[in-house]
């Protein structure tokens, strides 16, 4: 089952879970995803090779999509 999570003060919050077959869950996940983007969060999908990728649309085949806040120079 794929997961959409947000890094926040609780450690992280699971926003949505979906499978390829469950259209309702996919739609719900997509709505949550869009809402987080509108809040200024950045979506990061981890690839199989360990690198990550910034995504602007919910990748339905990803196992884990993490919403994070922007970074800045210290």
């Amino acid at each position: 089952m794929a997961r959409l999570i947000r890094l926040d003060r609780t450690g992280h919050t699971t926003l949505a879970e979906w499978t390829a077959e469950d259209e309702i869950a996919r739609a719900r996940a997509s709505t949550e995803f869009e809402r987080e983007l509108e809040r200024g969060m950045i979506a990061s999908a981890t690839r199989a090779d360990g690198t990550a990728e910034v995504v602007r649309e919910l990748p339905l085949d990803a196992e884990l999509v993490i919403m994070r806040r922007p970074i800045a120079g210290g």
Partner: protein
């Protein structure tokens, strides 16, 4: 399947680092800065070495001159030598302190101890899932995440990162943090930086502020004992992997 081939909810192509005009979104907002490459790192490293050498000469030369002119001015000369030693020392110490290990920064926003500890535990669990087995053990021991990249091997803390260059002799210190981080557990701050680094290493270094570049031993000596194994592991990997 390539990233562009993957299905998305809207059926459109997803944007990857390259299509985000400069890679990392945060980096794209800094058009006046150049992207960090091995060439810019070498150039900045040479500038740092020249600057440090200049500082040492600037303070040590008057001391030498004073003693040569009048040996009785040795106490004043000693002050000059102290300055020549202290400035590079302070630079290296600042570099070491910019990488804050998980659990050593100031407490986050006021909450109960239980909720803070619980959030930190959850965040640490996720961060542990993001790193490989060997790095996970190192993370637990040192509170720092070690991540290999194209520019070198990174040691990531809550508010900064060290980059051990290929060969393992030089280290760069970068000040970088989550923009709005006050309420985040320490492990989540590290996870933010780790994800951004994986998304676009060159852009990550572009966003971060370079605070030091010099020999690894200079920074290692100023790191706390708990953090040193992370730098040692990064140096070992930088020696063997490049």
């Amino acid at each position: 399947m390539t990233p562009v081939d993957r299905p998305t909810m809207a059926g459109g192509a997803r944007l990857n680092a390259e299509t985000l005009a400069g890679g990392l979104g945060e980096a794209a907002r800094l058009p006046w800065r150049e992207r960090t490459t091995p060439r810019t790192l070498r150039r900045d490293g040479r500038l740092w070495t020249a600057w440090t050498s200049w500082v040492v000469v600037l303070f040590a030369a008057p001391g030498v001159a004073l003693i040569w002119i009048e040996p009785l001015t040795a106490p004043a000369a000693a002050l000059c030598f102290a300055h020549a030693w202290a400035v590079p020392f302070l630079q290296a110490r600042r570099a070491a302190r910019s990488v804050v290990a998980i659990g050593t920064s100031a407490p986050v926003a006021p909450r109960s101890c239980d909720s803070t500890a619980g959030a930190e535990r959850i965040a640490l669990g996720l961060l542990g899932d993001l790193v490989a087995h060997q790095e996970r053990e190192l993370l637990a021991a040192t509170g720092l995440a070690v991540e290999g990249g194209r520019l070198g091997v990174w040691v990531i803390g809550e508010q900064g990162a060290l980059l051990v260059r290929p060969g393992g002799r030089r280290v760069d210190s970068w000040c970088v943090r989550v923009g709005d981080h006050d309420d985040l557990p320490g492990a989540d701050r590290v996870a933010h930086l780790l994800l951004a680094l994986r998304e676009d290493e060159s852009g990550f270094a572009k966003v971060a502020n370079l605070g030091f570049s010099g020999a690894v031993w200079r920074v290692r000596g100023r790191l706390d004992q708990r953090s040193r194994p992370a730098l040692d592991a990064a140096r070992e990997r930088a020696r063997s992997s490049f």
